[in-house]
């Protein structure tokens, strides 16, 4: 039997990789993918908890997270598309018009 801590550790590592990806990549698409990565990590820990706690709430939340992730991806990409139409950039360092 694999201990619960292993799953949570794995989930944390993926989550942090997602965070790092979000923090260091210039490309907005990859940043979106990083967010998906973070959400997947959360899902992993939720399913693991759910399994070990013998409770289904965690898995219910996973279903909702997946739903929201899909919605988020759709909106995020739509925003990206509308930005690209106006400015033809997909890099965060090109969208610093407003600052201070």
């Amino acid at each position: 039997m694999v201990p619960l801590e292993w799953y949570i550790t794995l989930s944390t590592v993926i989550f942090i990789i997602g965070v790092i990806g979000f923090l260091i990549r210039r490309n907005i698409i990859i940043m979106l993918i990083s967010i998906e990565l973070m959400l997947n990590a959360v899902n992993l820990s939720l399913v693991a908890f759910s399994h070990y706690l013998q409770d289904l709430k965690g898995q219910i939340l996973v279903i909702f997270v997946i739903t929201v992730a899909a919605a988020e991806a759709a909106i995020g990409l739509a925003i990206l598309v509308s930005l690209y139409r106006n400015k033809a950039v997909v890099h965060t360092d090109k969208i610093t018009e407003m600052k201070g």
Binding site: F22, L23, I24, R26, D93, T96, M98, K99, G100
Partner: protein
């Protein structure tokens, strides 16, 4: 129509203000009608109220309570007792006359309606100040009159000196109000109320309590009294915060008469009188009040001796007379102080309005050395000015005599401090007579010293100006008759009237002594007039001779004891120096702006640095969030580990 009547007293001018400020531009030239009607209404209601109070009615009720939370309650309420009734009469009557006078004086000014609306606003604020039944309302009125004063001093805002004078008045008053604010706060902290009646009912509980400040044990009562007196010093232009009043003469003359002579500046005296139960509990505080008053009055009177600007002389005279009132309060003669406030309001307003009339004729000329012989051009102005001068000089029979004599006599009776201030007071009486008549002789007698054109222009002022002068002259003669001492066959009506609020000091001197005090003051006053007559009528060479002989004294007095310069070097310049050295940005020459803008500039400098963090770069924001998460995590974990 019971309580509404009292509410209307301050409310009418407020309504007038609102109407004029919003709609004034549509009927520019007729704006005075609304203002005057409003103040007239207040005056009539004040008289009715006064009569009611005379019959023994005292009103104290809360109109509206602004409960915010817990026991912190701020009310709009009215306390109309004998003291308030007198103040109401003073404020509304002088205000009414000044309003009427302004119709002529301000005629043709571009901001005519604005001027009248400010005057109304001021009247409202002042009435709120005197009618309030709690400290918060007093404080509100206090700040509001200050604000109006600031607006009105800087009324000719295109003139740099006027704008500066307004700022100066505002800033100097900040110092006093800072202390006052702390005083109000302490009253609330220790007594948990701001209502006068509750304060006075519970004030004895503070007796004997002390508070430790920097290792000194200071009596709580003394501290609170002195903090409140701080406010009074600022507002009533006493030493060392007197510097703003002379500069405040940059404002239009009616403003000087109303705000800087008759009403606002006496708010300090009103405050001390209102809090007489508090002040009477602390000998130290009383002594400070008395000595501050006495020294200020001597100090200002000596400055007034040598000045040439007609309004500034009268301004210093006001400072001096206010000192007199504080002197009276300081020796426990609150009634006499208020009596003097009452008479002073009329003769001083008359002096200012007379000066305004002279300026009107002289096309704005202020230097009395350039006037002369105006007697025959403007007889009404001359006679009324003369009456005011006689009154302020303390010649028996006129208003000034009775109130001044009452103060001197009660001071004489009030122990060692009393004797000291009596001596000072008597000297000041002589000086007052001298400088008052110096104006009269230089302005109205002798030959005209101005240019030919100016002489051609001389004329008596219009009736809207002369009628108020005549009415005020009646006041300057007769206002004192309400307080004729028993020794001269009167009953000291005003003293008895105010006794329920202000008490009456115990008098143990004999009739002979009282005669002596009266005689000395009269002789000194006549001496002052005589000296003035000698120096400015019969032997005009003497002043110059004296000026040359006592050059140093003359220069010191001419420069007002260098107080302005002292402040400039000790406060203003160091602030400016620090401002220009420490703050990286450019500080322009304005000292006051240095203080006002310095701190924000420093913060802004800080902000400019911080601002660079907000790069507009998305990842930096995300890193900020991650960093925040990291810091919180590390702090909490370190904390929990222990």
């Amino acid at each position: 129509m019971t309580m509404e009547k009292y509410v209307l007293i301050p409310l009418l001018p407020l309504i007038g203000f609102c109407i004029n400020i919003w709609f004034g531009r549509f009927y520019q030239e007729k704006a005075h009608w609304i203002s005057i009607l409003a103040v007239l209404g207040s005056f009539i209601l004040s008289v009715i109220t006064f009569i009611e109070v005379l019959q023994g009615k005292v009103i104290n009720y809360d109109l509206y309570s602004w409960v915010i939370s817990g026991n912190f309650k701020v009310s709009i309420g009215f306390l109309i007792d004998q003291l308030t009734a007198i103040m109401l009469i003073v404020v509304t009557s002088v205000s009414l006359l000044v309003h009427i006078y302004s119709v002529g004086y301000m005629h043709g000014d571009s901001g005519y309606y604005r001027f009248f609306s400010y005057l109304n606003l001021f009247t409202f604020s002042m009435l709120m100040l005197v009618t309030g039944n709690n400290l918060m309302q007093l404080y509100f009125g206090w700040e509001a009159v200050g604000l109006c004063s600031y607006f009105l001093i800087g009324y000719y805002f295109r003139k740099q000196s006027a704008a500066d004078a307004g700022k100066k008045a505002f800033i100097v008053n900040r110092f006093g109000d800072f202390g006052f604010g702390i005083g109000v706060f302490m009253v609330f902290i220790y007594l948990e109320t701001l209502h006068y009646t509750d304060i006075f009912a519970n004030i004895h509980t503070l007796q004997g309590q002390t508070i430790n400040i920097l290792g000194f044990e200071i009596g709580l009562v003394t501290l609170i009294a002195l903090l409140l007196f701080c406010g009074a010093i600022g507002k009533s232009a006493q030493l060392p915060l007197h510097v703003w009043l002379a500069d405040a003469m940059e404002g239009p003359t009616p403003v000087s008469a109303l705000i800087h002579a008759a009403t606002m500046v006496t708010a300090g005296v009103f405050l001390v009188a209102r809090f007489n139960p508090l002040f009477s509990m602390s000998e130290t505080a009383m002594m400070v009040v008395a000595l501050t008053g006495a020294i200020t009055s001597l100090f200002a009177a000596t400055i007034a001796l040598v000045q040439n600007d007609i309004k500034r002389i009268i301004a210093y005279s006001t400072v001096s007379q206010l000192g007199y009132m504080f002197l009276a309060c300081g020796v426990g003669a609150y009634g006499a102080g208020i009596f003097h406030l009452f008479t002073h309001a009329y003769f001083k307003a008359l002096l200012f309005l007379g000066a305004g009339s002279v300026m009107h004729a002289m096309a704005g000329q202020l230097d009395i050395q350039k006037m002369g012989g105006l007697r025959k051009y403007m007889p009404i102005t001359f006679w009324t000015f003369m009456i005011a001068s006689v009154s302020i000089a303390g010649i028996p029979g006129l208003a000034g005599f009775f109130s001044k004599d009452e103060i001197l006599w009660l001071a004489y009776n009030a122990g060692t401090v009393g004797r000291i201030v009596w001596v000072i007071g008597t000297i000041v009486a002589g000086l007052t007579a001298f400088y008052s008549f110096r104006i009269v002789f230089l302005t109205f007698f002798g030959k005209f010293k101005g240019t030919h054109e100016e002489e051609h222009h001389l004329h008596e002022s219009p009736s809207s100006m002369t009628v108020p002068l005549m009415i005020l002259a009646v006041g300057a003669i007769s206002a004192g008759w309400v307080g004729i001492p028993p020794l001269l066959g009167g009953t000291n009506m005003i003293g008895h009237f105010l006794e329920p609020v202000l008490g009456h000091p115990h008098v143990h001197g004999t009739h002979a002594e009282e005669w002596m005090v009266i005689a000395i003051s009269v002789v000194v006053a006549l001496g002052g007039i005589f000296t003035a007559a000698v120096m400015y009528l019969w032997a005009p060479g003497i002043p110059q001779l004296l000026g040359r002989t006592f050059r140093s004294i003359y220069t010191v007095l001419w420069n007002k004891y260098y107080v302005d310069e002292l402040y400039d070097y000790t406060i203003v310049r160091p602030t400016k120096w620090i401002g220009s050295r420490i703050l990286v940005g450019v500080t322009d020459g304005k000292i006051i702006e240095g203080i006002v803008n310095g701190v924000p500039k420093l913060i802004a400098e800080f902000g400019e640095r911080f601002r660079k963090l907000q790069t507009g770069f998305l990842q930096h924001y995300a890193m900020g969030m991650a960093f925040g998460l990291f810091v919180i995590l590390s702090l909490v974990l370190i904390f929990v580990k222990q």
